[in-house]
Subunit: 425 residues, 2 copies
């Protein structure tokens, strides 16, 4: 990262602290990814991207910024990135997956809130996340109360807007939601001093649709004919990168990976020993470098074949239908239709989620579910009861794991997952 | 409580378990209240009421129920009780302040959510709260996500409706809120098979206004001319009882107490030694028998003179203005106007709260603030940062205490409060 010192200085970053972070991440990545065998060769692109996640990719964003394009940092899949893509800008997730920044965050925030929020807030305090630093605006939302209240503090450090996502999807709430999407559109237009038109919005939607379709294709190819051609860790990584990469290139690279996986399936080449149980991980998002559960499960020979999470199925399940839209207004309706289908635990009631999980289990012939929640994520943590009850009723074994970003409980979790995997044999 | 066994059986209660609970509460009440000296003699009413809180008061409710009046249990000051009073029914808080029911709740709910919610849910599981058992309907709301998601589980055990309170107070959100009040009105009308008219609603509003006015009067009389005529614990108790008692009688009894306090002030009779620091407790609600912080502070000779909480100022700060209302519709507008003034940390932004706290500090000549949050209450816990920063700026000393219903941390909290009180001298 030596070569980017000038860029980092320009972004007001704490360069020494950032180097410390990158060093730790580098050796972790080496151990978890680069040193593993049987990885698809198309993973080379994603490895390179990760190697340059705070380097080349930031340079690309800086170029966009210099040409007046909007850069929008987010924490949630409810912010309609299509509008930013329409304006030629970039919409991306902000750093929030590392323990590294949490002790700093805890000087302002309670210790007992979700690690993702603490991590993200800490990165801003530390000035060690170039994505945060480069953002014209951070778009928060009201999907969880710890985030909702943290935006108030974050807005003292960075420009923040909040998108109001309601508690339920009634007609009246949807009409407010639509106004929120329009407000976001206006905000983006203000940033780029340009107009989001029917044409460029449609194009933006098509670009993001293509990205999600590629991810959905990957999801389908994670298991086929009894063959599992890619590890859970690698697939998770590809899903995670969707929040950082340029979407057209990303979709191309995911499709390239898919071609290779198709070949592997045809050749019967599996990365797991025969009979490895097929696991669904269901619950809260895993921002990189949060690879904890997948890494542990992998070491127990459990084949994670899907993530029912915001980084995973919840993100790419539905596309925006532009078929019948003939005006910008109708495209916005189409956005609303797609975004309001998201089965986040923030809604009450949220019956869809249980149905979606059961359907996924059937589709992927799941042997067992790891219900995963980040510590102190009340909504997913409480909704677990309904999900676990529904799985039990269907006879699908499940285990609930609640954890944060620290490594203290790794061995304890390994013991539990090991026992769970054995019980599935 | 022996005499109420038939009533409890009729309510489907676990009578043995309930007796266990009442025994524990009885000795606690003896220690914290009855054994203390210098209490106003008008506290006799409130002591009697507490002694019969699961007895005579439940009998009264049962009589109402038998005559077809609606009984609505709630957990939050956002549910407009005026509408229930208008229909001749009763609206009251449900048990949620005791550790007693928490271990049971934790068989369904995560351990790391707010003790109030766990306690309340546990009481339903245990069938040991007669208020819950007798309720025609439990009215939940969406003010915090742990509650929001717990209603989904609670609704498998009892009839539950949820009032949707938005994240902010924009015009569009207020219009939905109004619909929620109207839906509540309809629900109450359905329960009592009666009509809520302009006349009875106005009367209901006046009854609740009078109750809140009496409480406000009490609040003013908690300190006057340097005299503090009532302990923080007793005043808290009176505030807590407002959620259980019949409102007309309650207001009369609070006013009776106020007369006595006025006399005490005139006579210069203080229940604290001279120079005891005047403390504001600010934060989350304290449902009985949660007397933890007041009890500890009292033992440190700190004079708690106000609670900036839902059980406290937040509840009685504003009345419903019926002056210009000429129709039921306009009364509902007046309800909305009053309820939407509540400065709950569930809103974002929530600038009013900081302003209200500073004003209260000035009004009551506060020497120090105890910022109190129930464990895992994200909204109040995060908002603490803004409040503490604002107090610091004004030079008002403050300490933050986060705790639950267990007694394990009592000595630790006492040490902290002792040191805090000493620092104020």
């Amino acid at each position: 990262m030596e070569g980017y010192r000038r860029l980092y200085a320009e972004l007001g970053m704490d360069i020494e602290k950032h180097e410390e972070l990158m060093k730790a991440l580098g050796s972790m990545y080496q151990e978890l990814f680069l040193s593993r065998k049987n990885r698809p060769r198309s993973m080379d692109y994603f490895d390179r991207l990760m190697g340059e996640i705070h380097g080349k990719r930031i340079e690309e964003l800086m170029e966009l910024k210099s040409s007046g394009k909007p850069l929008v940092g987010t924490f949630c899949i409810f912010v309609p990135e299509e509008l930013v893509v329409a304006a030629g800008g970039a919409c991306y997730g902000l750093c929030g997956g590392a323990q590294f920044s949490i002790p700093d965050a805890e000087t302002h925030l309670p210790r007992n809130i979700c690690p993702l929020i603490k991590s993200a807030y800490g990165f801003k305090l530390q000035r060690t996340c170039p994505y945060t630093q480069i953002s014209d605006i951070i778009y928060g939302e009201t999907t969880c109360e710890a985030k909702k209240k943290t935006w108030e503090l974050l807005s003292r450090l960075h420009r923040v807007h909040v998108m109001h996502i309601p508690h339920r999807k009634g007609e009246r709430e949807l009409s407010i939601w639509k106004e929120e999407i329009k407000a976001f559109k206006k905000e983006v237009e203000k940033l780029c001093r340009c107009e989001i038109t029917f044409e460029n919005l449609k194009e933006g939607i098509e670009i993001v649709n293509a990205k999600r379709s590629a991810m959905k294709r990957l999801s389908r190819l994670r298991c086929g004919n009894g063959v599992i051609p890619i590890s859970g860790l690698d697939a998770l990584l590809v899903n995670q990168i969707s929040f950082y990469d340029e979407p057209v290139r990303y979709a191309r690279m995911v499709n390239r990976l898919c071609e290779e996986l198709k070949e592997r399936i045809e050749q019967g080449f599996s990365v797991y020993p025969e009979g490895a149980p097929r696991i669904l991980v269901s619950g809260t998002p895993m921002a990189p470098p949060n690879w904890k559960i997948h890494h542990i499960a992998e070491s127990c020979n459990a084949a994670i074949v899907a993530e029912e999470a915001c980084i995973g199925e919840r993100y790419f399940r539905n596309n925006v239908s532009t078929e019948h839209a003939e005006s910008t207004e109708e495209l916005i309706d189409a956005l609303l239709e797609r975004y309001s289908k998201i089965d986040c635990a923030c809604f009450t009631p949220n019956h869809e989620r249980v149905q979606n999980i059961l359907a996924l289990c059937e589709q992927k012939e799941i042997d067992g579910v790891i219900y995963y929640t980040l510590s102190f994520c009340h909504t997913y943590n409480i909704e677990a009861k309904k999900v676990m009850d529904a799985l039990k009723e269907k006879g699908i074994p499940a285990i609930k794991i609640e954890t944060d970003y620290s490594l203290q409980d790794v061995e304890q979790i390994r013991t539990r997952i090991e026992a769970f995997v054995e019980s599935l044999a």
